[in-house]
Amino acid sequence: MQWLREMWTREGPGIPKDAPKKTGLALFAEILVREWWEMVKLNILFILASLLVVTLPAALVAMARVSVTFVEDRNTYLLRDFTEAFLRYFWRATAWGLVLAGGLAIGIHAIVAYTAGARDNLLLSVPLAIALVATAFVTVLACHLIILMVMRDLPASRLLRLAALASIIRPLPALAALAFVASLWLAHILFYPVSVFMPATFNFSLGMFAVVFGAHRAAVMVLELPPYRKPHARNAS
């Protein structure tokens, strides 16, 4: 058992206080390495919490709340924080979930309809392009809205306005995050049934983490917070 004890008690390299903060994909990888086990647990929590389907929006928002603490490098008590966020945001998340799902459904329906029509009438490619852009915007807006909801308690109108603003000023990181999410699910589909473990272990939480990572900077900007929030700040929630 000595080797096991050594493994636990061996000194690490240390963390210099003034080391330059990593950015971009390097930071993404660093957080992933640091929090991978928490993400696995978070994924399981999410699946359990969303089993009833009607709880899906609240579970999604609770997962976003925990993911924000990962990105902000703050301590989290996973079960406690997830449960609290689930209960706290339940009605807000459900209401926004219905609105945003409705918006996305309309967008997707329009895309499908205009795609079919554009085959016969080329002029319909214009509304198709508009539907594509609008749907993408609603998707990005949904990402920012969820992140902003768990970062600050804001009235609905202000929340929507800030989410729209964030989606306009920094849409690309959120789109990249959504592409990453899509690739996760694509991998799951392509490698099925070998990849059957993916949704059960990390697809949901890793996807949400990617979205939060992508949208966090824009959220910080529109909330007029310092660009690099100090971790563990008392008012950081």
Partner: protein, 369 residues
């Protein structure tokens, strides 16, 4: 108010007694250090104060209340261990908060305490990291922080710097001293490192074989050791012990070593020396009291030449340690780095007797104090 009183405190394991009837009064907000060689009972004493070892006999009071049978958690103390004892699966924040969570303290209070301790110890950037990523010094800070968040009246530190490298130990020494001043709490610190003891303590308790040898301020321990053990333990390199014979010369006395008469200063209590006239005792001279040339600021009557054969010269940068032999005894002298006698050469040094010590050969106790 966290004064601590140990009255005839002892600890036995069956027939083996490892701590013998210790009496010690520790004042509120005092920084006291228990020092001694391995197995002298210092850690056992600390663990009895902490409540981690059962007290076999005697009385322990903290803040005036008898604590012999009070559980450790109710003694208003916090302990920092040599191996840090951090939970490897918890982040730094959770490690620090854990004790307060067990006490069912409010979340806001826990957060405030953890953040404050982290700020003081400059580990705010580590709060979301696990111990495996931290260096020894950072782990030590976390262990200190975990003790601090409980806001205890007494801090017990069991060789907290032993696992750190020399440079970091020096840094942490000064940080713990500053922390003590800042927290205004009573600190009881165990170490076998006399440098730690000398640099940090308000008072030092020197222990040997379960007995307290001397309790005093660092300078007094150095200048006025009560016995040969304390004289030898405190100071590096350690004090030279030279068997000498006391003879009377005029109004005063001399110690005869290796055929040379070393004058005993007039400020020594002559009445204490008188009974030893013609007898052999042990003359103690610290290495820094040997000089290659007579120092101008020392009265000439307190200086005496001493010849010794140089066996080894250890350059330390700011000084040279000369290992020498005189009268069949090994001597160490700390001299200027410019003085480099050849190995095997018989060098003549000047012994400054102003701060010499005299010990009874049988009892090993100082005859001066």
């Amino acid at each position: 108010m966290a004064s601590i009183s140990l009255k005839e405190l002892n600890k036995s394991y069956g027939a083996l007694t490892v701590v013998h009837d210790i009496d010690l009064e520790i004042a509120d907000k005092e920084f006291i250090i228990l020092v001694g060689p391995s197995g002298c009972g210092k850690s056992t004493t600390l663990r009895m104060i902490a409540g981690l070892e059962e007290i076999s006999g005697g009385e322990l009071k903290i803040g005036g209340d008898v604590m012999n049978d009070v559980p450790s958690k109710d003694r208003d103390i916090a302990m920092v261990f040599q191996n840090y004892a951090l939970y490897p699966h918890m982040t730094v924040y959770k490690n620090m908060a854990f004790g307060l969570q067990l006490r069912k303290v409010s979340r806001d209070y826990i957060d405030a305490q953890v953040q404050d301790a982290a700020r003081i110890l400059d580990i705010s950037h580590l709060l979301n990291r696990k111990p495996k990523a931290l260096s020894g010094g950072q782990r030590q800070r976390v262990a200190l922080g975990r003790a601090m968040v409980r806001n205890p009246a007494v801090f017990l530190l069991d060789e907290p710097l032993s696992n750190l490298d020399a440079k970091l130990r020096g840094t942490m020494r000064s940080e713990i001293t500053k922390l003590h001043k800042r927290l205004n709490a009573t600190f009881i610190y165990v170490t076998h490192d006399q440098v730690e003891a000398m640099t940090m303590a308000d008072r030092i308790v020197v222990m040997k074989d379960g007995h307290i040898q001397q309790v005093d301020t660092p300078q007094n321990l150095y200048d006025r050791p009560v016995n040969m053990f304390v004289a030898g333990f405190i100071g590096a390199p350690q004090m030279n012990m030279l068997p000498s014979t006391i003879l009377r010369r005029g109004e005063g006395y001399v110690a005869v070593f290796d055929g040379r008469e070393l004058p005993l200063p007039a400020h020594f209590d002559q009445n204490r020396i008188a009974p030893y006239e013609g007898r052999e005792l042990v003359l103690g001279i610290r290495p820094e009291n040997f000089h290659e040339l007579p120092p101008a600021d020392i009265a000439p009557e307190n200086l005496a030449p001493l010849k010794a054969v140089v066996e080894l010269a250890e350059p330390m940068g700011s000084e040279v340690h000369l290992n020498m032999v005189a009268g069949g005894r090994n001597l160490i002298a700390r001299v200027s780095p410019r003085y480099r006698p050849d190995i095997g050469e018989e060098a003549t040094l000047v012994a400054d007797m102003t701060n010499a010590q005299l010990f009874d050969k049988e009892t090993e106790r100082s005859i001066l104090y």
